[in-house]
Symmetry: C2
Subunit: 305 residues, 2 copies
DNA sequence: CGGATCCATAGGTGCAACCTATGGATCAGA
DNA sequence: TCTGATCCATAGGTTGCACCTATGGATCCG
């Protein structure tokens, strides 16, 4: 089998016209280079040098072979350089998980943070929903993520809370916003909730369920939609109210429901935002970078813990 | 140090998402592939796969690295293919030595013979003069050659005569051509001889010297020029006569000296044409090809031995 | 012809690539 | 929840290769 080492020896020998000089340059003993050349000739099935008294002379086959050998070694160097540049964040892709609504109000800023520091990289923010992200983490497709808890079983995962984001009641009817929303009034409200596909595991719903169960009621939603934008738009039209993160509300309301406002719940309720990754994993520099930036960004909006 | 084997293992693992599958495909045991991947990761200083329960998952670094690894292996294959095609005379360069005048009347035909059989190759016919060729052979720059003997010391060389080519007297004066040229009349002739730089070792002159010494005369030339064409052209203008190979005469006279004719010497004299290469050398297929074709070509013109 | 230079060979050492066997973790299905 | 299957990591042992030094033979130069 042909090896890179053989090619290196070949080129050094070709350039110097001498096994001894090649060995000097490469820092080996002369018989070692001699052996490599012989192995290379044997594996190619051709003679590359004529041994002629003092020195060696390349054959025409060697002339033809040389540019190819150079190309191979050049592409190896290129490969190493590429990895080095990925390692120092000059290029390459950084992939990070982020649950749906957080991405809405911190994602763009996070991407901007990364690109400002490392202009050459690609960034992938993965995940519409916490459960997606969680699955990607379990499968190894994602190394780390920012995620809303509680929500999913966290066995085998290390969870580090970084902030909590208050849940607020959003309505286009000002009379419903004059005071914090009690569980009783929440139970009577006509709600539109987002992320219907994930309703069983959505962290916001879990918080609401908990709150209502304490007063003996079950949550009922009037409208179910997939994305938060649609929900907010429906609120804006006065068709229903909703409960979402305060961060999402401040981001979406001016644009999609300018007539609407929001008010806290009573008692105040929170989504906990955390960094999550597989337990026992050593995080890559890229993942640590994303965690640091995402934490800073989220803590500027939500309440640090 | 990064190795080709590591790259092969990396690509197989990347494609299958499994060390076990990769090992199966490559015909190794699973721990062997595992070790190669670990070595590759260590030499690159990055993690290429996340070990996640069942199977392994490539990191984004692996995504970036993969095309480079593929390029390296592709260029290795390309290099091997190139050598194979040289070996089977599909491409590459064939270099062969040939002394001056023989090249004049057999060189083009020889090149044509090679190209007809192997259209892709480059052909180099090296050497203006026997001594050049001989030196190239000694230095190893040439593997084999067709050469005129006697001429030079042949120590360390294997010489195989293939033909003899008669020397003829060429003149534009018909009255000088009515009978074979005796040594006495040769001594009185006004001669132009070619290859003046090599006059001491030129085989034709050595033959003439021998011939004249037998009748107690020394050769004197009136004009010395470098190339045979010039000599023949001077003969055509009637300014002098010359002695050259019959083959060269038949090739050059119609074109350069249509008025001139030739006649044998008495006794007839010959240049011996031989294949010469370093003693003890194993000849490459390319050299054997050239020897075979050159021999056939020269024997069609000169007299086989 | 003697010294210098260069490649090939011989013989020995150490590392690395490979194997088998086995343990631990995960996943699918009963 | 447990069991079997699957997959990777580790341990331990063997072989082969890459490397070394020492030396011989050939060539070149003075």
């Amino acid at each position: 089998m042909l090896s890179l080492h053989q090619l290196t020896c070949f080129l050094a020998t070709y350039e110097h016209g001498s096994l001894t000089r090649a060995a000097e340059e490469l820092g080996y003993a002369q018989p070692s280079v001699s052996e490599q050349i012989r192995l290379l000739e044997r594996s190619l099935g051709v003679q590359l040098f004529r041994r002629v008294g003092r020195g060696v002379v390349p054959t025409t086959v060697a002339d033809s072979f040389r540019p190819h050998a150079e190309r191979v070694l050049a592409s190896v160097q290129e490969a190493e350089r590429a990895v080095a540049s990925v390692r120092s964040f000059e290029t390459g892709t950084i992939r990070f998980g982020m649950f749906g609504t957080a991405r809405l109000y911190a994602g763009a800023g996070l991407v901007a943070d990364v690109l400002e520091r490392h202009p050459g990289v690609r960034v992938e923010l993965i995940g519409q929903n916490s459960r997606d992200v969680h699955e990607d983490l379990r499968r190894g497709r994602l190394e780390a993520a920012m995620i809303a808890v509680p929500g999913l079983s966290s066995e085998g995962m290390t969870i580090t809370p970084v902030a909590r984001d208050e849940l607020v009641y959003v309505s286009a009817h000002p009379d419903r916003l004059h005071a914090p929303l009690t569980p009783r009034r929440l139970a009577d409200a006509s709600l539109v909730m987002a992320e219907t596909t994930w309703r069983a595991t959505d962290s916001t719903r879990m918080v609401l369920r908990q709150m209502l169960h304490e007063v003996g009621r079950n949550p009922i939603t009037r409208i179910e939609v997939e994305d938060v934008e649609t929900a907010v738009e429906l609120v804006g039209r006065g068709l229903a109210d909703t409960v979402i993160n305060k961060g999402a509300a401040s981001q979406l309301l001016p644009r999609l429901a300018p007539e609407a406002g929001w008010v806290s719940l009573r008692p105040r309720q929170y989504d906990t935002i955390a960094i999550v990754h597989r337990a026992g994993a050593t995080l890559s520099p890229a993942a640590r970078l994303m965690i640091e930036l995402a934490t800073a960004r989220i803590q500027a909006i939500a309440e640090p813990v």
